[in-house]
Subunit: 225 residues, 4 copies
């Protein structure tokens, strides 16, 4: 296997620490994957393994149909959904799945999160949409994710009665979207508990989204510390 | 004492760290126990001792009537309830008790948690049931747990005006059930605060439960790190 | 100064870590004090000093009128209230003050926390009462605490529009009461958000309180780890 | 560059740890700046850099129009707002921006936080006001902050549909205001969820504010640990 797979193993193992840091996951219920650039491969968490025990060595390498190429353990039970997204959306380099609490509460009601915050306009460009209910075990979840997110600004979808899937140009961007999705879901929940948000003009949402996608952060990524 | 008791002491002492990690307990109000395989013994937390101070050496070994066999300290004041469960349910290898906040709020209202999430269907197979109010100090709590959970899919019961008891094939499984019970209780609470969940079909709940019990995780447990 | 003062300095400095561990305090807004056994002295946090910077050496020793006996810094701005409690209640060995969030919300509404949980019956023996609004800077807060708690089972009082004061036979017991007060306040809040708690019989509350005060924990304190 | 800039770099880098400690920020969405005393310079966080990776060396030095004077990275995308505040309010030595959850929920509804807590009277002297909606990228946010806070007791403003900006005589004071703003916003939210707060007399609010600004803490700052 190439160096590239080695690096992706390291990235995927390490990024799971962001899911626990931000409280997006309980026990083993959430996972990160990344596409191996230039190959028909992805790297994903093993199923049912504690976040404390993840390491580059126990990440699972699968092909884009979810079949294991390297690894002694079974891959995440959500592997089929990740794989479907990589097959259908070539621009996607990373996928994250969580049941983060506030976002999942919106998903349980089947309600999209409307956009009343500049932070949501920045990252999601408008509402965070609802995807269909789908059973695990085949391509249904993957199809629901792709049908909802293809052509949508939002990198996050709330799968009904289930939880959150996010996508990104790489795994780090997908993790960021998962973190921001829960942050926005919580703020929107609290806002609504005591009244109604002040509406934002669509032109302002559009302007914020355009700026954030192009101006925020560093032109080149900052050097590693 | 056999090696087995030594190992169970280690497991029980260590698993209490999951109760604090997930915020399921305040001060000393929660405990884990495990059956010693093949013996009429259980290992449980000492009463009123801080989680920081737990070690394999200060765990208490009791018989299945709650009488101390090994240990200098008094066992958990919930020992009688744990012991009753081990006597009545031979398939149970671990018991956990917490007053985790969201689950206890459902318990205070005497409301079962209805199943509107795939994560709840996976782990609990449907609703998380309410058990009776019972006073500490005899077999009443144990009887209430067993009467509620015997023949029920759920490994967790919400004891009215009190808190949560969970069971598992071993102590780790019971701790997982306690973690997931609070996670599900919190999401269900938040869902209901702003409306009603979309119902899930019973067939979907059944399908998810069947799959999770048989397919999730590793066929054999992953090697320790 | 005697060894005793040295030990009390260590205890009081260390116990502040429980306030931050349980999220009871923001910035520097909360404090622990202890009576020095057998002396007309108390040890308390210095005013406005970060919890990270507390040590036995920078604790302040005051007489029971709040005048500094040892220490280079100003004592907590709540010193007068602590001192009043020690003067009026000779059985009290420790006092804690916080603005912990859920308890303070009940205090802001001027509502006592009714007892619908076994954990509250255990520790508080019934409701957690409301004390009067009182301005800082003299004996008014101390008088309000004592007037509310004298003869009451509860070691915690919710001072109106302000926050929580707790008492105990020693500082550790007062800290425990502060931790359990917030835990109970949060569970009671969540309970009420979706309906009404099932009432508990007064006889059950009495029975739980009597048992917990006499049976819970170790007959002698467990040895330090 | 002078020693002073070096010291301000250290202070600003270190203070970001308080934003994460108190959960005021998600991912990279929040920033601290400080004026360099006696110079027309400010030090601010680089844009889009993780809090884990901040160090004195990668802080950005800007002039008071937001143009970079020292630093290899782009400054925070909120630099223009910070700079405007320093230009317009010479007494301000530090500025903080967060999207802390509870405060931002009040901001999304366009509601000021009314004062019903002694802690709010102490730090904010009354309500925490709402500022206008303003788009990022020019002086509009800065103008909104200054128009709201000039002549107001509160060091915090809730910018509509956006988040919190706080000011202080130095960066530490602005961070404290950001911490206390979220603490007060959360308590006020919880209070209102189950009823109405008991009103506080304006004279009491005034008295608390006057005392806290003059008496709380140490006459001279305590020595560093």
């Amino acid at each position: 296997m190439s160096q590239t797979v080695t690096e992706v193993r390291e990235t995927v193992a390490a990024l799971h620490a962001e899911l626990t840091r931000y409280g997006l996951v309980a026990w083993t219920a959430g996972n990160v994957s990344a596409r191996v650039p230039g190959k028909e491969l992805m790297v994903i968490k093993p199923s049912g393994v504690s976040y404390d025990d993840l390491s580059p060595a126990n990440m699972i390498v699968c092909d884009l149909h979810g079949d294991v190429v390297e690894g002694d353990l079974s891959p995440s039970s959500d592997t089929a959904a990740h794989a479907y997204v990589y097959r259908a959306m070539p621009e996607v380099g990373g996928v994250v799945h969580t049941h983060s609490t506030y976002a999942t509460a919106w998903a349980a009601r089947g309600e999209a999160i409307p956009c009343h915050l500049t932070a949501q306009a920045d990252e999601f460009g408008g509402e965070i949409p609802i995807g269909p209910f789908a059973l695990i075990g085949g391509d249904d979840i993957g199809k629901g994710i792709v049908a909802t997110l293809a052509g949508h600004r939002s990198p996050a979808v709330l799968m009904r009665n289930h939880g959150v899937f996010t996508i990104g140009r790489d795994a780090r961007a997908a993790v960021k979207a998962a973190v921001m999705c829960e942050d926005v879901a919580r703020t929107a929940h609290l806002t609504r508990m005591l009244g109604e948000p002040v509406p934002m003009a669509q032109a302002d949402v559009d302007s914020l989204y355009a700026r954030y996608q192009n101006v925020y952060g560093q032109v080149a990524p900052p050097p590693a510390p």
